[in-house]
């Protein structure tokens, strides 16, 4: 039972990075990103490949952060003037594009078989491996949270919020909105990359089919659930989503009327339903006549 609880918390931490990243992009700046899983995947693969190449864990983590941040920058540069709905299509498509690259380029990432034997950080003396991993990831999530808070309070945070509210006004006072938006996208992607590195390290194994759209939906729901723009709300939202989804995994041992495949399907149906309900609650308007 404790083992399950620790596992749920670890997933909450992993998705916490990704959701904090999405919160900077979308919550703070208003840039919708339906493909956050792309940067999560890039971080995971960069970390896995770097450790397999013999890089120390910390260096691999930094590299994963930088590489996913760089990809975030590239996407931001190519899509500066896209309308919200087009950005939604491009980011979702991009995430599937990235997954196809990892699937097809065997020389790069092992193709469909993925990468195994990804190392975990050394166990803190006195703790078991799982709890130790939780402590390490929680410490880094804390750091990311602190960073997000600072970012929101600094002038850049105010500018990003202003861009969210009305980009033309910000541009008219001479602020380089494109540079600001790119920075927000880079930071958000980099945080997702850290999450990916922790994901790879925790499962010790990654393959392309883990990086479908579910992760993107997961963090969208988390950011929506917390008050959009608030880092604390985002983390709370992530905790709720993780409890709902990872927590229900343990039902597998107790529910026998549905088989494992059906239970997995039910969990993802719940995720889809949760996202829809949250959206309706958040954006409900008076009915049109």
């Amino acid at each position: 039972m404790v083992a399950y609880l620790v596992a749920i918390l670890i997933f909450a931490m992993i998705y916490g990075f990704v959701a904090l990243g999405l919160n900077i992009q979308w919550g703070l700046t208003g840039l919708i990103n339906l493909g956050q899983v792309a940067f999560f995947a890039i971080g995971a693969y960069a970390f896995a490949l770097a450790t397999h190449a013999g890089m120390p864990l910390l260096a691999a983590l930094v590299l994963a952060t930088l590489v996913s941040g760089a990809f975030g920058g590239a996407v931001a540069l190519f899509t500066p003037r896209l309308r919200e709905d087009y950005l939604a299509i491009v980011t979702l498509g991009f995430s599937e594009f990235i997954r196809l690259i990892f699937l097809n380029e065997k020389w790069l990432a092992g193709g469909p078989d993925g990468i195994a034997a990804i190392p975990r950080p050394p166990t803190i003396p006195g703790l078991d491996t799982e709890t130790s991993f939780l402590v390490v990831s929680a410490a880094l999530v804390g750091l990311a949270f602190w960073f997000s808070q600072r970012l929101a309070r600094f002038p850049i945070g105010r500018t990003l919020r202003a861009i969210r509210e009305d980009e033309t006004v910000v541009a008219s006072v001479g602020k380089p909105t494109l540079a600001y938006k790119s920075q927000a996208f880079i930071l958000g992607a980099a945080l997702a990359g850290i999450g990916g590195a922790f994901f790879a390290s925790y499962l010790t194994y990654i393959s392309p089919d883990m990086f479908g759209p579910n992760v993107s939906i997961y963090v969208l729901a988390a950011v929506l659930l917390g008050t959009q723009g608030s880092s604390l709300g985002t983390l709370a939202g992530t905790a709720v989503v993780a409890a709902l989804l990872e927590g229900t995994r343990l039902l597998k041992d107790y529910i026998t009327i549905v088989d494992g495949v059906q239970l997995a399907a039910l969990r993802l149906m719940a995720l889809g339903l949760a996202l829809m309900v949250i959206v309706v609650i958040r954006y409900r308007t008076t009915r049109s006549p």
């Binding site: 083992a3 097809n104 078989d113 993925g114 195994a116 034997a117 194994y205 393959s207 088989d259 495949v261």
Partner: protein, 417 residues
């Protein structure tokens, strides 16, 4: 405590009777906190059956689980290794590495297993093996991918399935034996195909053949028309498809619907009754090469009887799962230990080729308890492991689909690296 079924079997029938005779069974059990501590070393040996109960390997996973249970019954009826019963905990890997990793962690951390048997898909074995090795346990696999050999060098992992290199050579031997000279290859984009195809090409060229084209594809493609067309373009004597059931079904149908007829050779593990039903007329004449079983051995006959199928059933993966559990139990008996590192050596020892030939756990412990050495000859073959934990020498069977039935048409024996 009183109703805890685990407790009952752990205490064993004699001590239980003694306790009941004392008339204070419940009290005594409650008053003996030390029992729990003894349990870990002296109680049941927990073994994880991590098998594909759904997904691409679904039909084989069910067969493997039933076969492992057949071996389990025999082992426990004979008293179990070192007098300890084995408890089998099943976990569905869904033929997916992600589910398998989660399942393996659960087996290791929650169920505290000594060994994991049954990993079927190569991607699953590749994902699970590092975890097993990190925990110094022991794993048995039915995967063929040659890439696994690299991982096996760290120990703790045995494969009862012939390596893909042997598979590739078997295709080549059979085709050359039939006098076919030109081969086209269609390969699913997974590592096992690359090695098989390379081994096939090498042996086929040695035997005077020529590979006219090698086309790879992804399992989630919507159409295979272009790939099939490419393969037929050079008028090959036969086409070898290296893949799994869903894509092979789609390719056979695509060829049929393009009006193309040819000879297809595919791996046996990709052909289930579903394929023959779904592909219908497109599957007629399909040749399949599968790892052989020791049909005449007592072990296989016991297994076939336990599974209750007719004589047309061919339990090649079931036989392996059956042998895996028997080998593990014999190794534990021989090593008097459940330590994964010790067992790695013990498994090699009981697999032979030296020692007295035995075909069951019951025969094996008799020899072992008299201080002898055993050579387990199982349902799937004679199973002698090399230094890496791969079987040294494999036999294959060639069968053909005729009128919707799988009919044996040939054998390829003693294929070696």
């Amino acid at each position: 405590m009183k109703r805890d079924p685990e407790n009952r079997s752990i205490l064993g029938s004699i001590s239980r009777r003694a306790l009941l005779a004392g008339g204070a069974g419940a009290l005594a059990a409650a008053a003996m906190p030390g029992i729990g501590a003894v349990r870990a070393d002296e109680g049941e040996i927990v073994v994880g059956a991590l098998m594909p109960l759904s997904g691409a390997g679904g039909s084989f996973g069910q067969e493997m689980l039933a076969s492992a249970k057949a071996a389990l019954a025999e082992i426990n009826d004979a008293g179990g290794p070192n007098g300890r019963k084995i408890k089998l905990v099943e976990e569905n890997d869904e033929t997916s590495p992600e589910a398998a990793v989660r399942g393996a962690r659960k087996l290791i951390e929650v169920d505290k297993v000594t060994a994991i048997i049954g990993t079927w898909a190569s991607s699953v074995t590749l994902a699970v093996a590092p975890i097993v090795q990190a925990n110094k346990l022991i794993q048995f696999s039915t995967s063929g991918a040659s890439r696994i050999t690299e991982i096996q060098k760290k120990g703790h992992l045995f494969r009862t399935e012939p390596d893909d290199l042997l598979f590739g050579k078997a295709y080549a031997e059979y085709a050359a034996g039939q006098g076919w000279k030109r081969a086209a290859v269609l390969g699913l984009n997974v590592p096992f195909t690359a090695m098989t195809v390379e081994a096939f090409r090498q042996r086929f060229v040695e035997r005077g053949g020529k590979v006219t084209s090698f086309t790879t594809y992804n399992e989630d493609q919507t159409t295979f028309r272009s790939e099939v067309t490419r393969a037929f373009a050079d008028k090959p004597d036969f086409i070898h498809i290296s893949g799994y059931e869903p894509d092979i079904t789609a390719i056979l149908k695509a060829a049929y619907q393009l009006g193309l007829s040819g000879r297809f050779i595919v791996p046996g593990f990709a052909v289930s009754p579903d394929l023959i039903k779904n592909a219908g007329p497109a599957a007629e004449g399909l040749l399949l090469v599968e790892e052989g079983v020791a049909e005449d051995s007592p072990a296989y006959q016991r297994l076939a009887k336990a599974l209750g199928g007719g004589s047309d059933h061919y339990y090649s993966f079931g036989a392996q799962a059956y042998d895996q559990l028997n080998l593990l139990a014999l190794a534990i008996e021989a090593a008097k230990s459940v330590d994964g590192t010790v067992l790695t050596d013990a498994v090699k020892k009981v697999s032979g080729p030296e020692g007295t030939k035995v075909t069951s756990f019951a025969e094996g412990i008799k020899v072992l308890r008299q201080g002898g050495q055993v050579n387990y000859e199982g349902a799937s073959g004679s199973i002698d492991f090399d230094a890496n934990g791969n079987i040294v020498k494999a036999n294959f069977r060639v069968a053909q689909v005729k009128d919707g039935k799988v009919v044996p048409v040939g054998k390829i024996t003693d294929v070696v690296f």
